[in-house]
């Protein structure tokens, strides 16, 4: 058969056409990748010091009075320009009401995040009248515009930090702040309606189903009143389980509940994990139920609350509590669901275990098997086993009940070990080598001690034994190891949150900074040097957590132009480019403004005295770090307009005049020119006619 040449050619055409399509698809995918050539940051090449360089370095070290250890410490912590830290430390900002983010190992302050305190740089609480931030800072209608931030808690998935959210407790006012770590802004503040102040907040359950808030100073729950004589009868402690809705990024108050507790002073909390998942633990002091009264010759609280040799570790089966709450067995106090002590006792939710003496931290080991309670007024840490606790509950091994009918587990039945560390043990964290680290306040030291059980084989040291004490300067409170309260601590670094700095820095008047000290805990055994001192001169930080930096997935800029950080969505009211202007409806005026380097649109806004104004601004920037500000002098208004951000404020134009407004972030070479005028025309005609100098371009409201 003779093949027609045309038939051959057309088959070839089909094959090649298919090739075109395939190559185009591949080409398209490839093209996307090749468009941007990422510039590599150049890492330094391996170095070798020449004898001359060694001589120079030695000379330099001697002239600055540096030891070899100092040089090594500097080499461990110094970061050249442009190099990033391995970890981020999220620290409470103490009475500043803020949270600080600090890089580790450089210990450089990266930024602060305002939570309970208005802060002008972030435009937090400076958005005129009815500011959403100021509104949510009110308690019982009163502005409470500071907080005593205590315990930050990073959100967890499976007991690991997931880098999505950060919670922070306000001890002074029993509040909780929720920070979204995509934009590092506070999204929500919840106020506990049961209690005035708290302490053990915030601690999360292993999947962040709940955020735990332990109380502290007993009151009559729900802002009630009773005299100290009625202390035992009417005062109560509490612990609250705040339900976290991860999809919404908010605490759901309607699904949250509390446990009524005896009026012991509940302290720190920690959630169980792995072996102890489903439980959480809170310790307590003042089980004496002392009521003080130094003014009438009675023992002061400090003595009265320290009489007994043991207090009570509270063991809470929160999964049971959750079920009881969902079954509707909670009662309402001040509108909030509370499981009473009677219900807790009847349902087997709450058990006590004796703990020596006025203890402070309770910290669960990474495998969840042990709870470590630091004695504070007792030189030991006492280690409890969850297995033994569960068995004692099952076997009803009780040594009695307290005055409120809560069963007390037999101490010897639940105790695993006691390790003598020194004076004033407060808090414990963990590493990856089978060591625990406990802060010793009175000894002013960090104790490294070896864990037993399945951790025994992880280091050469004998189990349940003190290994090393490194002095810190001074009066350490909390400490924090890298991911040291998760199911898989990293080791590497440890922070000593030293309360007093005394002589460590230049004297800054009678008020001195705290001292964040970095310890290198990479080597086992007795090697655990302090390698950096970082002064913190903004509030007294309380606790911090250290997360691997690459777990944080922060936004460079807001995802869309006109993004409202309060709703984490594109705002339907956000002014867009080309849609700017001023809309008047009687004396109600809406200003729609955009900001981009280096101008606001519009630049003149004409108002009349008494106008009520809603002013909306969108930054149409899309470049990382191209942040603008916006302020109006005399009206207490300042906004931070990050790229893509939408912000809104309200005010009444009650003081006439000509007000320059301007960009408060040095945004560009023409930053000073990034301004405009707000003209508020007086109601009565002014005596001297100044209206001749009418601006050429106006966006006057009709």
């Amino acid at each position: 058969m003779t093949r027609k040449p045309r038939a051959h050619t057309s088959r070839l055409h089909v094959a090649l056409a298919a090739g075109v399509v395939l190559t185009m698809i591949a080409g398209d995918a490839l093209g996307q990748d090749t468009t941007r050539r990422r510039r590599r940051t150049e890492d330094a090449k391996p170095i070798e010091l020449t004898p001359a360089q060694v001589a120079d370095l030695t000379k330099l070290a001697n002239s600055r009075k540096l030891s070899v250890d100092d040089l090594v410490a500097a080499a461990k912590t110094y970061l050249p320009s442009g190099r990033h830290d391995d970890y981020v430390l999220f620290s409470s900002g103490g009475q500043s009401g803020q949270v600080f983010a600090i890089g580790v190992p450089s210990m450089r302050l990266l930024r602060s995040i305002s939570v309970f305190t208005p802060e002008s740089w972030q435009g937090y609480g400076f958005a005129g009248d009815n500011d959403a931030v100021r509104e949510r800072l009110k308690i019982n209608g009163k502005p409470v515009e500071w907080g005593d931030t205590h315990h930050p808690a990073l959100s967890e998935s499976g007991g690991e930090y997931d880098g999505q959210f950060l919670f922070i407790g306000d001890k002074a006012n029993a509040r909780l702040g929720v920070i979204d770590l995509r934009d590092w802004e506070t999204k929500q503040i919840v106020k506990n309606p049961l209690t005035v102040s708290d302490h053990g907040a915030a601690f999360v359950t292993p999947n962040t189903d709940y955020v735990i808030e332990g109380g502290q100073y007993a009151t009559v729950l729900g802002y009630g009143y009773a005299t100290p004589e009625d202390y035992k009868k009417s005062y109560r402690g509490m612990v609250t389980m705040w339900k976290f809705d991860r999809a919404k990024g908010r605490i759901d108050e309607s699904q949250s509940f509390a446990l009524e507790l005896p009026p012991y002073w509940q302290d720190l909390a920690d959630a169980g994990k792995l072996a102890s998942d489903g439980f959480f633990f809170v310790n307590s002091f003042n089980t004496e139920m002392a009521t003080g009264g130094i003014e009438s010759g009675k023992p002061p609280f400090e003595a009265g609350a320290s009489q007994r040799d043991t207090d009570y570790l509270h063991i809470v089966d929160w999964k049971k509590a959750e079920k009881v709450f969902k079954d509707g067995k909670a009662k309402k106090i001040n509108g909030f669901s509370v499981i009473t002590m009677d219900t807790s006792a009847a349902e087997g939710i709450l058990y006590f275990a004796p703990e020596p003496k006025s203890p402070h931290g309770v910290d669960v080991t990474p495998n969840g098997q042990y709870m470590v309670v630091a004695g504070k007024l007792d030189p030991h840490v006492t280690v409890y086993s969850i297995e033994k606790v569960k068995k004692a509950i099952a076997d009803k091994k009780f040594s009695g009940k307290d005055d409120y009918g809560i069963p007390i587990l037999d101490f010897d039945a639940v105790k695993e070990a006691q390790v003598e560390l020194g004076l004033g043990p407060l808090h414990t964290q963990f590493d990856d080598k089978g060591y625990a680290y406990t802060s010793l306040f009175l000894d002013s030291a960090v104790a490294r001690w070896s864990l037993g059980g399945e951790y025994d084989s992880k280091n050469a040291d004998e189990p349940w034994k003190l290994v090393q004490k490194t002095p810190v300067q001074y009066n350490i409170g909390h400490l924090c190891a890298a991911e040291g309260d998760t199911v898989s601590p990293d080791g590497n670094y440890l922070i000593s949150m030293s309360k007093w700095s005394v002589d460590r820095f230049l004297t800054t008047g009678p008020l001195l900074p705290q001292n964040f000290q970095l310890l290198d805990i990479t080597s086992p055994g007795t090697t655990m040097p302090v390698i950096f001192d970082a002064p913190i001169g903004v509030g007294e930080p309380h606790y911090c957590q250290m997360i691997k930096a690459d777990k944080l997935k922060s936004w460079d800029i807001y995802p869309e132009i006109g993004w409202n950080p309060h709703t984490q969505a594109l705002d339907p009211h956000s002014p867009q480019k080309g849609k700017e202007g001023v809309v008047r409806d009687g004396s109600t005026v809406t200003v729609n403004m955009t900001a981009i380097r280096s101008h606001f649109t519009p630049e003149h806004v004409m108002l009349e005295e008494g106008d009520h104004v809603t002013w909306r601004i969108t930054s149409t920037e899309q470049t990382k770090d191209a942040t603008h500000g916006f302020c109006i002098g005399g009206y207490n208004i300042n906004l931070s307009l990050e790229p893509g951000e939408f912000a809104e404020f309200e005010f009444t134009a009650d003081k006439p005049g000509t007000y320059p407004f301007y960009c408060t972030e040095f945004c560009s070479a023409l930053h000073l020119e990034m301004m405009g005028y707000l003209h508020i025309k007086p109601k009565a005609a002014p005596k001297a006619d100044a209206s001749d100098t009418k601006p050429a371009t106006t966006a006057s409201a009709k």
Binding site: P5, L12, L16, M24, L30, G31, T35, R36, S598
Partner: protein, 223 residues
Amino acid sequence: MSAFLSRLIGPRIPDEELRTNRARYLTPTVTFMVARILLLVSIFFPYWHMELEAPQYPNGLFLTAYVNNLTEDVKEIDGLNHYIGMRPLGEAAAFERSASVYLMIAMVLMVEVAAFIHSKWAVLLAIPVIGFPVGFLIDLYFWMRHFGLNLDPHAPLSNSVKPFVPTVLGEGGIGQFKTYAELGNGYWLAVASGALIIVGFFFHRRAYRPLTLPATQNLKAAA
């Protein structure tokens, strides 16, 4: 078929000849085919890149031109350009960008037709493809020059940045920026496409020229 037309489209291949010398006639066809594919594929690759370097942009700013699109940091570069009074880049070569894909399909179809013309006139149909890369560069240069030389004299930085001709290829500079411009993979695909067509014509001539000679002699003989 008129003699003119038959001279234009050239001789058909006798079946016997094709069967014995298939490769000889397939080679130009396949070469043109590959050239057409390369040209089509080039639409999906960048033709031109410019990287702008300045102290405050440690990761650089990038401009990437496809035949029908200008992408990457256009918005930021426009934002910066407004300080020197340069018009937004989106206004440059708007017609070229909207027409380019149709133009390229037309060129591909012309080469397709050329594959069936077995005379030297086939070259005429392929000239646009061969000249396309040069045309692209000339157009790019024209627009860059036009934009650079026509700055708004009222712009804030008009005092320190005078009208200029941006560098189309290689290293240039404007203000605190250093610019590096280079041709992209798409451009090189288009160049390869043109080169293959030239190679294809070598095979084309080798295949069909011998067939033409006797045909012309026959015509002469008939006259």
